[in-house]
C-alpha cells in the first residue's frame, strides 16, 4: 500500500473525528453556536459555553490524547517484546492503577485522590516488575519481564477482588466497577491539564526514538553489535510507555483493546517499520477513541462504559485480522 495517500486519508479522518466529537452530544449546540464559541464570543446562554468549553472540549482532547497514547504505548511494547499479542498493560500498569483507585474508592476519598492513587499504583507495579526482573538474570530478559508482569498483575487483580468483597455493595462497589470499566464522562479541564502533559512527556521519547524501536525487534546480540545499548533503550521505552498508560488510566479508568488492536491494523498499512507505524498508530488510536467515546455518550440517555465498547469493537476486529492474515 502507498503510505502517503493513506496517511493523508487518516489525517482527514482524524480531523473528522475531532469535529464529530465536538459537534455530537446530548446538549443541542448548532454549528453557528460552535463557530461563535470558537471565535471567542460569549453566547447569550452561559450554559452553551459550559457545555462546549468545560465538557465537550476536554472530553474530545482526552479521547485524542488517551487514544494516541495507548496506541503509542502498545506499538512500543509490541516492538520491544517482539510479540504482537502484547498490550500496554502487559507489565501490570492497569492492574496496579485499578488497585490504587479501588483502595481510594473504598476509603471514600475524593476524585483527586482516586486519580493520584491510580497513577501511583500503576507506576509502582511496573517499578516492582522491573526490580524483580533484575534478579532473574539467567532468563531471557524480555520473557522474564512478561512473566513477572503477568504474575504481579494477577496479584493486583486478586487484591482488587478482595477490595470488592470488602466494599459496601450499595455504594462503593458500583463505583469501583464503573471505574474499572473505564470512561471519559467525569473528565474535566483540570484533569487534562495534569494528565495531558504527562502523557505527551511519555510519548515524546517514543516518538524521537522510534527508529531505534526497530532495533529492539532484533535479537539482543545483533542490536548490541550495531552499537545500541539495548538495556538502556528498553528502560527508556518501559518508563515512557508506563508514564503514558498510567496517566491515561488515572483519568479514564481501564480502557482495553486500543493499545492491542490499533498497532495491528496499522501494521497492515505501514509494515513493521516503527518510523511510520508509530505515527499511524497514534492517529488511528485517537480516531478509534474519538468515535467510540462519541458513541458512548450519544447512543442512550445514560453513558455506555467505554471499556465495553472498545472491547466489543476491538475483539471481533482482532479475530477477523487473525483469520485473514496468515502471519502477523
Amino acid at each position: 500500500m502507498k503510505y502517503f495517500p493513506i496517511a493523508a486519508v487518516v489525517g482527514l479522518l482524524l480531523l473528522a473525528g475531532m469535529i464529530l466529537a465536538l459537534t455530537a452530544g446530548k446538549y443541542p449546540l448548532s454549528l453557528s453556536d460552535i463557530s461563535q464559541l470558537l471565535l471567542g464570543n460569549q453566547p447569550q446562554d452561559p450554559r452553551l459555553s459550559i457545555v462546549f468549553w468545560q465538557i465537550r472540549m476536554p472530553r474530545m482532547l482526552a479521547a485524542l490524547v488517551i487514544g494516541a497514547g495507548l496506541a503509542a504505548a502498545g506499538t512500543a511494547y509490541q516492538g520491544m517484546f517482539r510479540n504482537p499479542l502484547v498490550s500496554p498493560d502487559i507489565l501490570g500498569v492497569a492492574a496496579g492503577a485499578g488497585m490504587g483507585a479501588s483502595i481510594a474508592i473504598l476509603l471514600g476519598l475524593s476524585m483527586l485522590f482516586i486519580q493520584g492513587l491510580a497513577f501511583a499504583g500503576g507506576l509502582l507495579v511496573v517499578t516492582l516488575v522491573c526490580v524483580i526482573a533484575r534478579f532473574t538474570r539467567r532468563q531471557d530478559p524480555v520473557l522474564s519481564l512478561v512473566l513477572i508482569g503477568i504474575a504481579i498483575g494477577t496479584l493486583c487483580g486478586a487484591m482488587i477482588s478482595l477490595i470488592k468483597v470488602l466494599a459496601d455493595p450499595y455504594t462503593e462497589l458500583p463505583s469501583i466497577t464503573f471505574w474499572l470499566l473505564g470512561g471519559l464522562n467525569t473528565i474535566t479541564a483540570s484533569d487534562l491539564q495534569i494528565a495531558a502533559p504527562l502523557t505527551l512527556l511519555g510519548i515524546l521519547p517514543l516518538w524521537l526514538l522510534r527508529w531505534r524501536m526497530n532495533l529492539l525487534s532484533l535479537p539482543d546480540e545483533e542490536a548490541s553489535a550495531m552499537g545500541v545499548n539495548v538495556t538502556r533503550l528498553r528502560v527508556i521505552f518501559i518508563v515512557s510507555a508506563t508514564l503514558v498508560t498510567a496517566s491515561a488510566v488515572a483519568i479514564a479508568g481501564i480502557i482495553g483493546w486500543v493499545g492491542l488492536v490499533v498497532p495491528h491494523i496499522c501494521r497492515i498499512i505501514t509494515g513493521a517499520n516503527n518510523q511510520r507505524l508509530l505515527p499511524m498508530s497514534m492517529a488511528v488510536g485517537a480516531i478509534l477513541l474519538l468515535v467510540t467515546d462519541t458513541l458512548a455518550r450519544t447512543v442512550s440517555t445514560v453513558e455506555l462504559p467505554l471499556g465495553i465498547i472498545t472491547a466489543m469493537i476491538g475483539a471481533p476486529f482482532f479475530l477477523l485480522l487473525l483469520m485473514r492474515r496468515e502471519r502477523l
Partner: protein, 350 residues
C-alpha cells in the same frame, strides 16, 4: 455483579416473561409481571414463633428490619460495625458484632461460622429473585437452618414488618412499627398526588456525582415514592448507570440529592455544575449516612425516615413536627434516644 449486568438481565427476564405471556396481558399491565402476592418465602422447617432465641441477618436490609423488630434476637449485624461513630445509638446496639453477609458467592460469612453461631433462623430481606431463592435453598440444604426470604420493597414496609414480626413472635412491636410505616407512606402518597409529581430530582453518586440510580431502581425507590420524577430514566434498564454532565444540563433537575459528602462538596464547587439551576439555587441536598443511609444504602426500613425527612424538606407543613417524629422513629426502629443535640448533628448539612 455489576448493576449494568443486572440491568441487562432484568431486561432479558422481563422480555422472557412478556414473551411467554404472549405479549398480551402482561405487556398491557407491566405491574402484573412484577406484582408479588407473597412477601415472605420460608425455606426449611420454620421454628415456632415463641421458640426463637437467635436470628441471623443475611444482609444489610435484614439488619435494619431485625434491628427494628427484635434487637434481642439479633446475633449481630451482617454489614455494620458501629463500635466507632454512631454515638446516638444505644450501647447495646452499638456493641453488636459485625458477622458478615450471606449472599452465595459474595458471602463474607462462611458456613462453618454460621453453624458455630447456631441461629434458629436466618432472615434475608430485599430482592427475592430466583438467585436469592437458590441461595436460601442451598443454605438450608447445607446447614439445616431454616431460612426466611422477605421481599424488601419500601411500599410494602407495613406488611413486611407485620408478617416478619408474626414469624418472630413480636406482634405488638411489629404492629407499632407498621403503624408508623403506614403513616409515613400514606402521607408520602398524598404528597405524591399533589405537589410531588411536579418536581424532578437527580440522585448523585460517585466521586463526581455522575453515577446515579435509574428510575425504578431500589437506589431511588424512596424518592420516587414521593412522586418526584427521576430525570435519569431508561425505559429498559434499572439499577445504576453513569451519565454525562451534558445530559444533566439538558435534564435540569429541580433537586439534587446525595448521601456522600465528597460528592456534595464536588458538586457545589465545580464550575461545570454551575450550569445546573438546582446547584445555583442551592437545591443540592446532602443526607449524610448515620451510619445507615437515609434513602438508600442499605435499602431497608431505614429509608422510611429519609422519606419523611425529604417530605418535610419539601412540605413546610410537616417541618415543625419533624424533630419529634425523628426522635420517635429512633425510639421505635433503633431503640435509642436521640437527643436534641444529636438531632442537629444528623440533619444539618455540614
Amino acid at each position: 455483579m455489576t448493576s449494568g449486568l443486572i440491568g441487562f438481565m432484568d431486561v432479558q427476564r422481563r422480555l422472557l416473561i412478556q414473551g411467554l405471556a404472549g405479549c398480551g396481558v402482561l405487556a398491557a399491565f407491566p405491574q402484573l409481571a412484577t406484582a408479588d402476592p407473597q412477601l415472605l418465602l420460608p425455606f426449611g422447617n420454620m421454628p415456632a414463633p415463641g421458640s426463637i432465641r437467635q436470628v441471623l441477618s443475611a444482609g444489610a436490609p435484614a439488619d435494619m428490619l431485625l434491628l427494628a423488630l427484635a434487637p434481642q434476637l439479633l446475633t449481630g449485624f451482617s454489614s455494620f460495625d458501629l463500635r466507632q461513630g454512631a454515638p446516638w445509638l444505644a450501647p447495646s446496639i452499638r456493641n453488636l458484632p459485625k458477622l458478615g453477609r450471606l449472599a452465595g458467592r459474595a458471602s463474607t460469612l462462611s458456613l462453618e461460622q454460621l453453624l458455630a453461631l447456631k441461629p434458629d433462623l436466618i432472615i434475608d430481606c430485599g430482592n427475592i429473585s430466583d438467585t436469592f431463592r437458590s441461595v436460601a435453598q442451598r443454605t438450608v440444604a447445607q446447614t439445616g437452618i431454616p431460612y426466611l426470604l422477605v421481599s424488601g420493597k419500601l411500599a410494602d414496609s407495613p406488611a413486611q414488618l407485620k408478617q416478619t414480626g408474626a414469624v418472630l413472635g413480636v406482634d405488638s412491636q411489629a404492629a407499632q412499627l407498621a403503624a408508623t410505616a403506614e403513616q409515613i407512606l400514606s402521607d408520602a402518597r398524598t404528597f405524591a398526588a399533589s405537589t410531588g409529581k411536579n418536581l424532578s430530582f437527580y440522585a448523585a453518586r460517585g466521586a463526581r456525582g455522575l453515577e446515579t440510580g435509574l428510575t425504578g431502581s431500589l437506589h431511588t425507590e424512596a424518592i420516587e415514592l414521593l412522586g418526584l420524577r427521576n430525570v435519569a430514566g431508561d425505559s429498559d434498564r434499572k439499577g445504576l448507570a453513569q451519565v454525562s454532565l451534558e445530559q444533566l444540563l439538558l435534564w435540569q433537575p429541580d433537586l439534587i440529592i446525595t448521601q456522600d459528602e465528597a460528592t456534595w462538596q464536588y458538586i457545589r464547587q465545580s464550575p461545570q455544575w454551575q450550569g445546573i439551576q438546582a446547584v445555583k439555587q442551592q437545591q443540592v441536598l446532602l443526607y449524610r449516612r448515620f451510619p445507615f443511609g437515609w434513602l438508600d444504602a442499605p435499602p431497608g426500613v431505614n429509608r422510611l425516615l429519609g422519606l419523611r425527612r425529604l417530605q418535610a424538606h419539601l412540605d413546610s407543613g410537616l417541618r415543625p413536627a419533624f424533630k419529634a417524629e425523628m426522635q420517635q422513629f429512633f425510639r421505635q426502629f433503633f431503640h435509642s434516644t436521640l437527643s436534641d443535640e444529636d438531632y442537629q448533628t444528623l440533619v444539618t448539612a455540614i
